[in-house]
Symmetry: D2
Subunit: 359 residues, 4 copies
Amino acid sequence: MSVYGDNIKLTVFGESHGEAIGAALYGVPAGFTIDMDKVLLQMARRAPGKDKTATPRLEKDFPKVISGVLNGKTTGAPIAFVIENTNTKSKDYKGLLDNPRPAHSDYTAFVKYGGNNDIRGGGHFSGRLTAPIVFAGAVLRQILETKGIKIAAHIGSIADVNDESFNPVDINDELIEKLSGLSFPLINKSAEDKMRSAVESARLDGDSVGGTIECVIKGMPVGIGGPLFDGIEGAIAKAVFGIPAVKGIEFGSGFSGSLSRGSENNDAFEYKDGNVVTKTNNCGGILGGISDGMPIIFKAAIKPTPSISKQQETVNLKTGENSTLKVHGRHDPCIVPRAVPVVEAAAAIAVFDLLQGEF
Amino acid sequence: MSVYGDNIKLTVFGESHGEAIGAALYGVPAGFTIDMDKVLLQMARRAPGKDKTATPRLEKDFPKVISGVLNGKTTGAPIAFVIENTNTKSKDYKGLLDNPRPAHSDYTAFVKYGGNNDIRGGGHFSGRLTAPIVFAGAVLRQILETKGIKIAAHIGSIADVNDESFNPVDINDELIEKLSGLSFPLINKSAEDKMRSAVESARLDGDSVGGTIECVIKGMPVGIGGPLFDGIEGAIAKAVFGIPAVKGIEFGSGFSGSLSRGSENNDAFEYKDGNVVTKTNNCGGILGGISDGMPIIFKAAIKPTPSISKQQETVNLKTGENSTLKVHGRHDPCIVPRAVPVVEAAAAIAVFDLLQGEF
Amino acid sequence: MSVYGDNIKLTVFGESHGEAIGAALYGVPAGFTIDMDKVLLQMARRAPGKDKTATPRLEKDFPKVISGVLNGKTTGAPIAFVIENTNTKSKDYKGLLDNPRPAHSDYTAFVKYGGNNDIRGGGHFSGRLTAPIVFAGAVLRQILETKGIKIAAHIGSIADVNDESFNPVDINDELIEKLSGLSFPLINKSAEDKMRSAVESARLDGDSVGGTIECVIKGMPVGIGGPLFDGIEGAIAKAVFGIPAVKGIEFGSGFSGSLSRGSENNDAFEYKDGNVVTKTNNCGGILGGISDGMPIIFKAAIKPTPSISKQQETVNLKTGENSTLKVHGRHDPCIVPRAVPVVEAAAAIAVFDLLQGEF
Amino acid sequence: MSVYGDNIKLTVFGESHGEAIGAALYGVPAGFTIDMDKVLLQMARRAPGKDKTATPRLEKDFPKVISGVLNGKTTGAPIAFVIENTNTKSKDYKGLLDNPRPAHSDYTAFVKYGGNNDIRGGGHFSGRLTAPIVFAGAVLRQILETKGIKIAAHIGSIADVNDESFNPVDINDELIEKLSGLSFPLINKSAEDKMRSAVESARLDGDSVGGTIECVIKGMPVGIGGPLFDGIEGAIAKAVFGIPAVKGIEFGSGFSGSLSRGSENNDAFEYKDGNVVTKTNNCGGILGGISDGMPIIFKAAIKPTPSISKQQETVNLKTGENSTLKVHGRHDPCIVPRAVPVVEAAAAIAVFDLLQGEF
């Protein structure tokens, strides 16, 4: 239902080429002064058109707040905002209703909605719908920061080029601060050229590449979350899989941890400065679904952008025959960099929801 | 809250060494004849003590249905059942409250519940709480089967030994039927010896191993699920992360798909026997959060069993000093085989919930 | 959270004197052609300024649909719409933050939101927030009508002047049709003059009057709803108490039924034209929380408009002293007529949600 | 779904003549010492067989806690308990499946569940299912008391005999204490004889009577609840309508307030001992859906017991002809006294849920 949250509610609406997109956010405490510049910075990180890894469209994703903020402060009413759809070139999408694009929602949405869905720009399934998620996450993140909880992510990999991983037991605030302001966020900047080459090479081939994003939530108090279906993993996964193109998620050592032995994967406890910490962090900061006070770390897999200009095989739903298509229009050969602030936002939303549920 | 579902509700309760564990399941249609033998078969697959990969405890996990079934048929009232805790050896757990076991919920639950949680056998965090999940899943699976939806899983890997993967575009019913009756379910039986060796080797070392489980849902109609937070991936992930020890999940090509190009990862459509199918199935049967009619395929990462008899480093919460412990008691050196029916059950629960939500 | 629904979601946002109010409605089936004139008719019935029973403000509550409708048809995406706040005279509300108006939310909202709430026009607590509810209800009502379910309400009473009640076992479609188009809906038009006199008399006294609204839902299939917390009464009550000024609800014979004996209050069953009906309808069409196929009938109590121009006693929250105030501005001496379409809308929303939950 | 709560979850299960009834309660804080005697006292107040107003059945509604409590203290795990069904005389219910009892759920449940529901004793629709609600409410009430929140109710009326009402602005703790221990709770004991006579007279006629219950929640902090669908009225109504036989609810002056003018119904604010209070309490302690610190007061209408031994008209669903029936078995001529602790419990559950949702 495009609605997230047990204790807060984020309700996203809009279609890519309709009047506007937007969201309403319920459950934000009153009296918080939103730093709107910080919000806009996060939205700018997600916006397209910044460089060659992204589409050359120039969106003006300027959110208009229509409720819940007065003189810069939250009023306690739902925070609602809309972003008008201005720079839309709908003619590019003619014929797509009949010839569904592979790896897009065209076919499944066609069946689900009986052909009534707005196909232009992907409609409600467009990556553009992540803009409201970033807005909401950017607001909640600021509140989390007042509680000492900080969130950052970086490009874990693009194609087969990897960035360094977070040091799971020692992530300093400067790194977090730095990453959360970058458009192409990397721990080790030396990977950037290779990553950009991989993207450019795909673009020249009319193709696309995918990658991974690693995200950290630092400063989470011990004891948040719960057993079974109340666990942090499920809550974050539900939010992160809400981002189009995410096809996998792992916490801590995740899939590679499944190759190790218990004696390696178990994180030994020890006292450090009077606090209980773990010497390693293979559990990604979560034990029994509950935060253990160490950084929460997860990695998300992003599939290669489905829109490619190479010819692809598809079907013609009108004629009932096999068919081919080339996707025209402006598309990102790699959405991984732009997806970084979206993953951070999803993490902020999930974590805020969990914290609101605490007595 | 140990509660799952938007359209149905599964509410799990109980602690490992308390009076009983159990669950109540809301939203099951009336008039369905439950094949209780099939339910018990699934519970037996999860039960410990079958062979050396599992703990030698002999649980008699016999569920007593107390509501919702009359003369073998569902009445429309919630289906509630309890499983008494009989074979408990609580003395093994003395002292754990002070010395939390690494990679267990001992420490996080201690903080969350102020030391009031029932530590014996892991309490509400025990793997034993998956028995009610298997019961519920086994009931829902039978109803799904009447709608042509079949679910099966197999051991994807144990340590570094891999089974074959499902052929993602062609999974025959015999394979599904076969797998869902096995205690050590493999597509290619030749991996069994190596896997058992890896487990036995870890056991002899007082250690443990992890692995992966691959699960398929076949026969899902096109058009189930929805955009953003309503997607199938999030719904299944929420259910599967409800299983203790799961630390990762990926759909279709997942993490490895993030290494590929769009032209490789996109699944071409074609007509086959009048139906739209895809030639490959890298999307795992899900596009835009919605089923595309192909098998839904996902893989879950299972961490190595945290209980090992090797000495481990921990802290003493009473004295505030670093400490060591050896976990005594009866534990599985590998829970992957027993977790297979639990993953199937979680998939059944998630899919049933999604289907109930359709108009 | 200003959010309603288990199977659909209606999320209302906005503040009376902010940028705009609006709502998003999730779960509406795709492909339905909305008759927007009918929607606007319902909104006009709720709008103020029609006659002396209502405030002379001229609101232009013209809803702008920004998502979910393409070429007049629903697309399956959330239906979102906004109504701009244009005709606001915010200076009337100066000083209210310090001197809370009796019977308003001023004081409770002040405490809840720490004085950060937007007090102008009542902010998010304004009766104006019922406009989005009417919009949503008007859309859902059209869909319900295609399933043979019709909803209407009338002014049950204003002050001590009563309209006739519905004949609970025989409500013809013409009556329903007629009532749902009226601004001052009565079964027996002869009550109108007396009602208007009661309102006018209160207005001249600088005072206000309350009343009741009786609502019927005809054509509900047998078997909708459920036991205990899943009952129709609770679902409708939750929606109707969402309307500011509603302070009571009763189904069927309700409070007066509590004075009768079982032999009088029990509704005898009989066959009529091959269908099971009841000879009376004291249960209001609901037995065991489930519809019995007879009209669902309920009555809501509306308190007298809290805004009156008479001097009232209050407190000054700044000085901590007792105080007095006169509420200036434009206010309805009786909101009952305008609340009728809101009650109908709440009923439509509740019933639609219940029906969506059925397998 | 027989499930209540946004922030806690109460999930009720069982059928009157099945193995057992029970419930699970999620979200109770750990470390609370339950006074089980107090819980049993509340259950005894609800239990039948105490005197002539109630059925002579002797139920032994002894709840067996199977989860969530260790050595008398809550562990943080869900509190689950079962009550075995021992004293059932199922032969009394033969033939009811064909001849639905008027004013019962027999007919609606038959249609909803396709005749598969357990008709014996009313199955899941039985008043017996209120026993788990009382248990849960009795636990939560104890926790509320530690926060200074006290709940009590009394018989407002039976047939046309009224008790005094609560003084809405001054309810002393002794009265609350006294009422919550009585089986036939009245503010003014002088009404008891007349009430008992009304019940006895109905009983001798083979008939039944209804009544009302007035309930108070004292000590609620200011600022709990919220606007629109988040209001206290809706939350309490949802819980109270979960009790079979409740057909109406009103808060504060409710329906009679709709007859008054604003100048009478508005509650003037004043300072008293430094606190903001209201001079009257026609709003029932709730303004804008939010608590104002005054006692929350509501009244529920209870229909006359539907089971009467007089001959009644019904239909024979098997033959398709009109029919008659006399309800045999043991039934209460008036359930109002036994419903008092159930209403208190529902209030406790609703209020606890609201409080858990606060930041």
